[in-house]
Symmetry: C2
Subunit: 146 residues, 2 copies
DNA sequence: ATTTTTGCAAACCTTTTGCATGGAA
DNA sequence: TTCCATGCAAAAGGTTTGCAAAAAT
């Protein structure tokens, strides 16, 4: 969950121009609770008659990724999606039912990585942990159905 | 690292036919030390005049993934690659210089996942940990250059 | 002989690029 | 007014699909 204002300010502070398409995209991202793909934003922009160009969406997503406001994740299906996130090193839990996602911190994974480095002999420079499951809301909803 | 025989047997035991293209592909996979993309196998097959069809490569990779002999990973660049692997739950360390990859076990990540589940309130069903760094061989080679 | 698998080509989908126009600073 | 960003359209990748021909059982 991230505010469109935060996105717009990030563009601004990084020296990028604050344009209408970028404002519009920021709002579309804010409106999406969970993860989203470029295609979904594009559809949203058409539906709300903002009519962003395909290239603009891709270019903005790239910039936002560089700025660290969103992060690209790979869903189990192989799709490329993005999630809004905080800058510090962290990981995401993604709900496989509704797509909502939450940042989680380190959780002690540093030790695990160190252990695996020792075991494999590799010098590990980066890692990516992606977690998939059911968010609290979806858990409740599913229970209610029984 | 996996033998082409193991791949061929896997096709056989799963009830798939053992065909020339599948044998050829098995050898190409065996020949690749690290990870590989569909495109790379396709190039290899042209270079060695095996002339596998694009569709055959994709279809075989899909089957092998279902059989659990290879696993699809997402490189930091966003490329889709595959690595040969054992069936049990595990993770991969991928060398960002040469592409070699090694299976590593759990390394205690179960506890980390449990901790992150507790913290986020999600019910975590699956996770994916990808590690990137330098393999022992590349470490040695880089040191030699100094 | 039967059924699966292949090869080909075309379709499809996602992402990138070049360039003229329009908008922000 | 000067650059940066956009839109468009085309190109570029990567992956999938339908179907007739070929190969495996």
């Amino acid at each position: 969950m991230i505010s469109s204002d935060a996105i717009v300010s990030a563009f601004d502070q990084a020296g990028y121009r604050v344009t209408q398409p970028r404002r519009a995209l920021a709002r579309l991202i804010e409106a999406r609770a969970g993860h989203f793909t470029a295609e979904e934003l594009l559809r949203d922009s058409r539906r709300s008659r903002l009519g962003l160009a395909r290239a603009t969406v891709f270019r903005s997503l790239e910039t936002l990724t560089e700025l660290g406001l969103i992060e690209r994740i790979d869903l189990p299906s192989g799709e490329h999606a993005f999630v809004a996130c905080e800058a510090a090193h962290h990981h995401h839990v993604v709900c496989s039912r509704c797509g909502r996602s939450t940042d989680v911190g380190d959780g002690g994974i540093g030790q695990v990585v160190a252990e695996l480095a020792r075991r494999s002999g590799y010098r590990i420079d980066s890692h990516r942990l992606e977690l998939f499951g059911l968010c609290p809301i979806c858990q409740t909803e599913l229970e209610r159905k029984h």
